[in-house]
């Protein structure tokens, strides 16, 4: 059974990641690609969590993002919760303790997050959504290895050999 300490530490790490994302905001953008630090951190943490705990982390990040957004509270929370649950479900099936796999999961997970969110809250312009989402997916994928090494010690409850 998983202990509560890694869960609490991971929740705190996600809150800090969101705070950095909210505070630095637009200045994180490089060449038109802006990462969603909170979402990327969520996906990395979910790699080391079971489905139920991952869904809880998804809810946390959804609530945090919704608190600073202009509405769409339910869409944020539900989209983050669903995708986090799916990533958490893979934890029991696929060995993923690797930076390369983390990059792949963050790339695909970010794309899934944006797609699920767009289903709940369709964007006004499809072209600008595609461009923005593409930039966020690439930026998150680039950040994933760094986040993997930073978050692995707090999110994983596996014993180091």
């Amino acid at each position: 059974m998983r202990g509560s300490r890694p869960g609490a530490a991971a929740a705190l790490a996600l809150t800090v990641a969101f705070a950095v994302h909210a505070a630095l905001g637009a200045s994180l953008e490089i060449a038109g690609c802006r990462p969603n630090l909170a979402a990327a951190a969520l996906l990395v943490v979910c790699m080391f969590s079971g489905p139920a705990r991952a869904a809880g982390f998804g809810l946390l990040v959804g609530v945090l993002e919704a608190g600073y957004a202009a509405g769409l509270v339910g869409s944020y929370i539900v989209s983050r919760t669903l995708v986090a649950y799916v990533v958490g479900s893979l934890e029991a099936r696929v060995f993923r303790d690797s930076a390369a796999v983390a990059a792949a999961i963050v790339l695909l997970g970010t794309l899934a997050l944006e797609c699920v969110f767009a289903i709940f809250a369709p964007p006004p312009s499809a072209l600008s959504w595609v461009l923005r989402t593409g930039g966020t997916v690439l930026a998150n994928g680039a950040l994933a290895p760094l986040l993997y090494f930073c978050l692995r010690p707090v999110a994983s409850d596996r014993e180091e050999s």
Partner: protein
């Protein structure tokens, strides 16, 4: 590499269903509060709890960028200082001239029986988070309902209009920027020969689109666009605030209206303080 299959799929699905239900309930709670014109309990709690952390990160970031700019930009700062002194001298002369014109305008208003707009209270607020959510052009400020900020209060910076308050908590507020795709403001060309009107809308980019401009309207690149005090997002914006400068004006595809692109007067990504008009 494959690992063992999950052991408690039904329990996990129940947890997921519960969390999704909780998420939907929070969304409904938020929407109902906004529809009633009340502060949203969800966003209020989230921002009240996380604001100190976000504000601390913003403070550290500003401190570091300030020190960095001192280190690398001293020569540039000297040059800019000289240019700003010259500009300041020019602007002082302009202020004196405009002050005289203001006195004349007041006298004429009184003579003609025009109703002067009531002066508005101002609240200066620090920008705590700039565009914190991807896809929305918003910022979060350090003042809220306990400071007198209300939903739909107009927010300005020295350069011009920033946007309007969308959601208020006791110690913070979310401001919807002009560039957000759900923003709209009644606009007018400042040039006396034109005075063409339209609605400036955000489209999720750094530029604004001015709609409903008549095809024969005299709008040119470089024209200054001011708020008209008409229409827009509930007609909340007072008249005469700078919105931006025309980048491009051409007939739209149908040929019935003019397609005008406006660059906002305010650089939103450099905002550190804003003023809320009550």
């Amino acid at each position: 590499m494959l690992r063992s299959t999950p052991t408690r799929p039904i329990g996990n699905r129940l947890v997921l269903a519960g969390l999704v239900l909780l998420g939907v309930s929070l969304g409904v709670l938020h929407n109902r509060a906004i529809a009633r014109g009340d502060p949203s309990p969800v966003t209020t709690v989230v921002r009240t709890v996380t604001m100190p952390l976000v504000a601390a990160v913003t403070g550290v970031s500003c401190w570091i960028s300030g020190r960095w700019s001192v280190l690398v930009g001293a020569e540039q700062a000297v040059r800019e200082n000289r240019e700003l002194r010259d500009e300041n001298a020019r602007l002082r002369a302009e202020v004196t001239r405009l002050h005289e014109m203001g006195i004349l305008a007041q006298r004429l208003q009184r003579t003609l029986g025009f109703e002067a707009p009531a002066p508005r209270g101002r609240i200066v607020a620090r920008v705590v988070a700039l565009m914190p959510t991807i896809g929305f052009h918003t910022l979060v400020i350090s003042r809220g309902s306990r400071d007198g900020v209300r939903a739909k209060s107009v927010v300005v910076a020295p350069g011009g209009v920033v946007g309007h308050v969308f959601d208020v908590a006791p110690a913070s507020a979310v401001v919807l920027l002009l560039t957000d795709s759900s923003s709209a403001i009644g606009a007018r060309v400042q040039r006396p020969e034109s005075r063409a009107t339209g609605i400036c809308r955000g489209n999720g980019t750094d530029l604004l689109r001015m709609d409903y401009v008549a095809r024969d309207a005299d709008v040119r690149r470089g024209d200054i666009i001011l708020s008209s005090g008409l229409g827009g997002e509930g007609g909340v914006f007072p008249k005469g605030l700078p919105i931006g400068i025309v980048e491009d004006a051409r007939l739209d595809v149908s040929g019935a209206l003019k397609h005008v692109t406006v660059r906002p007067a305010v650089r939103f990504d450099r905002l550190e303080e804003v003023t809320v008009l009550r």
